[in-house]
Symmetry: C2
Subunit: 490 residues, 2 copies
């Protein structure tokens, strides 16, 4: 606690790395690129999971579990999928170790070589569609709306905690439908589920859109996405939902007999969000003092710190603190009472600031006399002295206020850093300064690539909402149907 | 649905395999030894997870997540652990595929070979204790009480759905303590958590005990276990909790400074249960008609099947059925209303019998007239006609009754198949007939091994409760401290 965090304006990337470790969210492990998600970080993920899982079930999905390993040959079955995915991944080649003859530990038993190598899943379309072939015969078996909570592995060269790790946790939905229309509806529904979750639960504003062809998921006909803007002006893709057409059905021969008895290929979607969202959470709300958590995601929303000298005072304060804790828990507020005598109040204040606890209650002997407590908000760092009477309702409404305030603050930041640009020089300047840039684009992959090469900006999405007027491409001057969102991105 | 299940007495093993697939619990996948857990089976696992997770948190544990991969060298660090675990496991040797020059799919890129192979975790003691070294410095950091929900891989040669699969899902608790006494207490507490869960939630009676030295977990000083008895007279280990002493602390150099400033090694426990418990659930309660589920674990506890001719009747019945469904859900009962017109009532009856839904409600036009419903219990296959008035409370109490009845039935089976034996011939006969055999044992690994070779029976546990009188070994006639539990086992 002694040392302060690096400030964001000094080195944003360093600030992020320090924060993740010091707020006890995650750390690097002995395995290159694989992180340990610490209990405090995992508690945030559990809250995200619980909310998402509820929304998935409310929209008619069920959970299931498919194998971690995928036979190598499966990746070759869908041509564009293999191009996008099968290359950088963990390959299992053997199934046994044996004692090293030199007596020093164990070595791979070369006799236990697999006939066909197994790939640790980087995503599960192939193994799932291989399974769906057995599950789908008739239109009666459709739709199939299944989600999986799982770990996946993509062998990333440069890794960063939460943002890009070799192994990460996610959910992946995989659905099968009788018609194209229904599959597109599903992909759009899940985009809405994600957008609502990220905006209302995580307090992160997003732009909803579709990817350009070159940014699409490998194997998709359309990739819907939500894009968020981080404090350093870089975009972060916060969730994707893919309309996969009949590509996987054809690759894995999944057909159904229609009501009319005709054999048809099945239509598919897949959609996912991952622990990467925790990175987005950090980079949207946190500040130079540490993590800032929206109350919906805080492992505990309120911490009570007693200010006391000697055992007697602690006993008195504890009695009152426990009463408040109980009353708060009755109205659904989670509370941590930190009565450790191994640390001073000032140390605890700094600790809970660093960990982003939304509300801190400090209680000393004078508070007991006056029937008051000191409340400190983490979001705007303001303090107030409040009567203990009706404190539960006061805190409940403060927490709602904090949740709203964090969203509004982030939305204001987004608005201030979203620029409508018509001129190429202005475009370059605005991209270099950071933020979303709304500009016209002629719709060609060639122009997209040139802009990327010259400015490092990619088309984050073709937005689904807002201004849809035609214009001229900011780079080529050719016709453009609508403005698209450019940014440098994580 | 056309074909009946194989009967248990014809072929128990075949009955089990058929049941798992036909009740939609799980199936084999394209990856040898890896299963797909289907939505209906996964819903049962989710109920188990929710209850266990609650109990873990109530006993002061937090969840976290550790890497899937473990560096090969870690397994050699704890000598007895490597003997027990590191051999049959999935080994990652490469991290990239490339296009096959012959144009047919992908092959392993031999240039992307890992310097040190990675093992897909068969259990996580090593990677977790490597992490704990960084987390533990002082007595203030202890105890560390962490659980992980994860997938693990053990390369089994003969696999069976749920009972023995290459990949399975489980939870593994890993705790670190300042004292030996506290660690032993923890291991015993978790045994109690497991025993209560399996008995009260899953309705499976168990014997609590400790393993003999030769049956202990690799690296443990004491393995506590719960043992259940399946309908075919074979035992199944339903959960284990290990006191690991300081073995892993020494192997991974995890020390803490005590209050007195002395450096000490940390004391450890680990404990886990897995999807194997679903196998135990099936083999404890189910019958020749299919699955039988205790209400606590049923994805839906009640199914309503309408009996109707024509649309008009269906509309009338549906209105009443939906009312009952809503009222039941208000009192916490989960209900599925199956109004599909693609299947006949008889087909649905058989389907829900096969899937083990605890209570079935059938409603026809005459029921509407008479203000009645027909209730059918899955556990004892009895039917009754009941008034709709107060039906919610009636059903609630019936579900409790079913839960109790299933436990009692299983307990009676266990009692009838638990034999106290003093004579070697009788021992052999009783073991061959199936069941738990309580017999004296001289305490040597040699005798244990001989008995195993001659009868295929292993010592399931040295029971913690019940008769503790001394006697003479059933095999050697040597002194014995107390009777132990023998059985053939899964």
């Amino acid at each position: 606690m002694a040392q302060k965090l690096t400030k964001r304006e000094e080195d944003y990337s360093k600030w992020y790395n320090e924060l993740v470790v010091r707020a006890d969210l995650a750390e690097n492990s002995a395995v290159r690129g694989s992180m340990v998600i610490k209990p405090y970080g995992y508690a945030i993920w559990e809250k995200m999971q619980a909310e998402l899982d509820l929304k998935f079930k409310q929209t008619g999905h069920q959970n299931a579990y498919f194998p971690l390993f995928i036979p190598k040959s499966f990746f070759s079955k869908e041509a564009s999928h293999v191009e996008g995915f099968a290359k950088e991944c963990a390959v299992v080649t053997h199934y046994r170790l044996k004692n090293d003859p030199d007596g020093k530990g164990v070595i791979v038993d070369e006799e236990a070589k697999l006939e066909e190598e197994l790939i640790v899943r980087p995503t599960s379309e192939t193994i799932i569609w291989d399974t769906y072939r057995r599950w789908v015969q008739s239109y009666r078996d459709l739709p199939l709306k299944i989600n999986q909570w799982a770990n996946v592995v993509r062998w990333e060269m440069r890794t960063r905690l939460f943002l890009r790790t070799a192994e990460f946790l996610w959910q992946e939905g995989h659905t099968a439908h009788a018609t194209k229309v229904e599959a597109i509806e599903e992909a759009e529904t899940m985009l809405e589920v994600y957008a609502n979750f990220v905006q209302n639960f995580m307090a992160i504003p997003v732009i909803k859109g579709v990817k350009t062809e070159s940014e699409r998921f490998a194997g998709a006909l359309e990739t819907y996405c939500i894009e968020a803007l981080m404090q350093d002006g870089k975009a972060l893709q916060a969730g994707t939902s893919h309309f996969l057409g009949q590509n996987f059905a054809k690759a894995f021969d999944v057909k159904y007999a229609s009501k009319e008895g005709k054999e048809e290929y099945v239509w598919a979607t897949s959609w996912g969000v991952s622990t990467r969202l925790i990175g987005a959470l950090i980079m949207t709300h946190s500040d130079d003092n540490g993590l800032v958590l929206p109350p919906n995601l805080a492992p505990y929303q309120v911490v009570i710190v007693p200010i006391y000298k000697g055992e007697d005072q602690l006993v008195q304060i504890s009695a009152k603190a426990k009463e408040i804790k109980q009353n708060l828990e009755k109205v659904g507020v989670s509370v941590h009472f930190d009565n450790r005598d191994t640390h001073k109040p000032g140390w605890k204040f700094a600790e809970y600031e660093l960990k982003g606890v939304p509300l801190r209650i400090a209680m000393g002997p004078r508070d007991l006399e006056n029937n008051t407590v000191e409340l400190a908000r983490r979001d705007n760092m303001t303090k107030s002295v409040e009567s203990m009477d009706g404190i539960e309702q006061r805190i409940k409404s403060l927490l709602e206020d904090i949740q709203d305030n964090l969203f509004n603050k982030a939305q204001t930041f987004n608005d201030q850093n979203t620029h409508t640009v018509n001129d190429w020089e202005d475009f370059q300047a605005k991209i270099a300064a950071g933020g979303f840039v709304l500009a016209h684009w002629d719709g060609t992959a060639e122009t997209e690539e040139k802009i990327k090469t010259e400015t490092k900006a990619t088309i984050r999405c073709i937005p689904l909402e807002g201004d849809k007027q035609a214009g001229k491409c900011v780079y080529t001057g050719q016709d453009s149907v609508q403005r698209v969102v450019f940014a440098r991105a994580y």
